[in-house]
């Protein structure tokens, strides 16, 4: 089945089987391996990408054909013109990762979360990332990173 998707601003036309999952389409068909597959059963959140800019979706739990006509943002699309996204910078500054496996999904979940809730409390941040597992249990610094990003000038301006 022919689909047209825009991923990180680039338009792609591909022929896919209906059963092709979006996560595998991004990784294997487009070579965008920043989107990780963890549990493969929609629990862990490693595979989260953005649909149409503001909706976080677990891409292991969505078919590529469902993305036809939509815009996808993956972790590769966060950096703009060589400058890290404020959330990426905050994860760097606050050491919001240890092994890094959950990081792409965490980042994408948090981008959508801050769009919906630009000034979250600590409790709201913890609630907001509840669908993303960090098996290094590095949540403390992830929360700090989201707090830093929420106060970053670019994020405040964007909200």
């Amino acid at each position: 089945m022919k689909i047209n998707v825009t991923v990180n601003g680039t338009a792609y036309e591909r022929d896919v089987e209906p059963r092709m999952l979006l996560a595998y389409f991004l990784r294997e068909s487009l070579g965008l391996t920043g989107t990780h597959v963890g549990c493969d059963t929609s629990h862990c959140g490693c595979c989260v990408v953005l649909l149409d800019g503001d909706r976080a979706v677990k891409s292991c739990n969505m078919f590529a054909v469902q993305a036809d006509g939509h815009a996808i943002t993956t972790v590769e699309g966060l950096e703009q013109a060589g400058k890290l996204h404020p959330l990426q910078q905050a994860f760097w500054d606050q050491h919001g990762l240890q092994c890094g496996y959950c990081t792409p999904g965490m980042l994408m979940t948090c981008v959508a979360f801050l769009k919906h809730n630009p000034k979250p409390s600590e409790a709201e941040i913890r609630e907001g990332i509840a669908g993303n597992l960090c098996r290094c249990t590095g949540y403390q610094n992830i929360v700090k990173a989201v707090q830093q990003a929420a106060t970053a000038d670019e994020m405040v301006a964007a909200s």
Partner: protein, 293 residues
């Protein structure tokens, strides 16, 4: 872990979806959020030959009050309920549920109607829908029919939806000023299925006695269960600690859970009572009834 092969059809209108359903009948499944259906297909627990994607149908995406009901469309995502000021202010039991379903990311895609159609014994929305005495609107080529939630939830993963038919919306009666509800879920971690859950909805008479009660439990049997004995006991009575305890005992009696890694049968039966008692206390508190803590 990919599902078995299937055909994918995108429906742009309800009529298109119904035509597709009419031609493929029992082989077809409607795809809304897919947050239960897709994992089930990947695990080969479900194997539809064709998926009919209804998410592009704008006329199925709504959340509005109409004629004494809160109406939720088949393509309306759980996230819409979670952030709705209307739900937050007027439908506390639905608001409670909307933040406990799955996890925050899954709720951005999952749908309430999809959850009811999946009818997982441990699902959250069936429990709330029973307590609220919700109705579903089912449409086929031959027209609409309205089905009560009790008749809709037939058995585990089985509903009253017939071949060629689809659910277009679910309707929750709008509470008056003397009606409140609440929902409780016991889960090991965020995103897990309920170990046990309970929803209660109470209407008080002006004199403070109970006019009507809805009590339901989840993950404690082959499907969400209405605790009719508790409802009968509550109706006509005056709220008290003893009444709450008696209603909780009725939930323990009808709970019929299986033992698994979430708990033993005895534990889960005990939790049926604990959660019904908590839900009732919160419901009464929301009604301004004091002294039941």
């Amino acid at each position: 872990m990919f599902p078995a092969q299937f055909d994918y059809q995108r429906a742009r209108s309800i009529d298109e979806a119904l035509s597709a359903l009419a031609s493929r009948g029992g082989d077809a499944r409607v795809l809304a959020g897919g947050q239960s259906l897709i994992p089930a297909m990947r695990l080969r627990l479900a194997r539809p030959a064709v998926l009919i994607d209804i998410t592009p149908i704008d006329e199925l995406s709504f959340l509005r009050e109409n004629n004494g009901f809160l109406c939720v469309g088949a393509a309306t995502r759980d996230f819409a309920l979670e952030v709705s000021p209307l739900v937050a202010s007027r439908y506390p039991m639905i608001a409670d549920t909307s933040v406990l379903v799955a996890d925050p990311v899954v709720r951005q895609t999952g749908t309430l109607v999809g959850s009811l159609c999946h009818n997982d014994p441990a699902g959250d929305w069936p429990v709330t829908s029973l307590a609220a005495r919700a109705q579903l609107v089912l449409r086929s080529k031959s027209g609409d029919r309205t089905v009560s939630i009790d008749d809709f939830l037939v058995d585990s993963y089985t509903t009253a939806v017939k071949d060629g038919e689809m659910v277009t919306e679910v309707r929750f009666p709008t509470p008056d000023d003397r009606t409140r509800g609440s929902f409780y879920k016991l889960e090991r971690k965020v995103g897990d299925f309920a170990t046990a859950s309970a929803a209660t909805r109470i209407t008080l008479k002006p004199d403070g006695t109970i006019a009507a009660a809805g009590v339901a439990i989840g993950a404690l049997g082959p499907k969400a269960l209405r605790v009719s004995a508790a409802e009968k006991l509550l109706a006509g009575a005056k709220p008290s600690k003893d009444l709450v305890a008696a209603a909780a005992r009725e939930a323990e009696k009808i709970a019929d859970p299986g033992a698994d890694n979430r708990g033993s049968v005895a534990y889960k039966k005990a939790m049926a009572g604990v959660l019904v008692a908590r839900a009732l206390r919160t419901t009464f508190e929301r009604l301004g009834v004091k002294g039941l803590e």
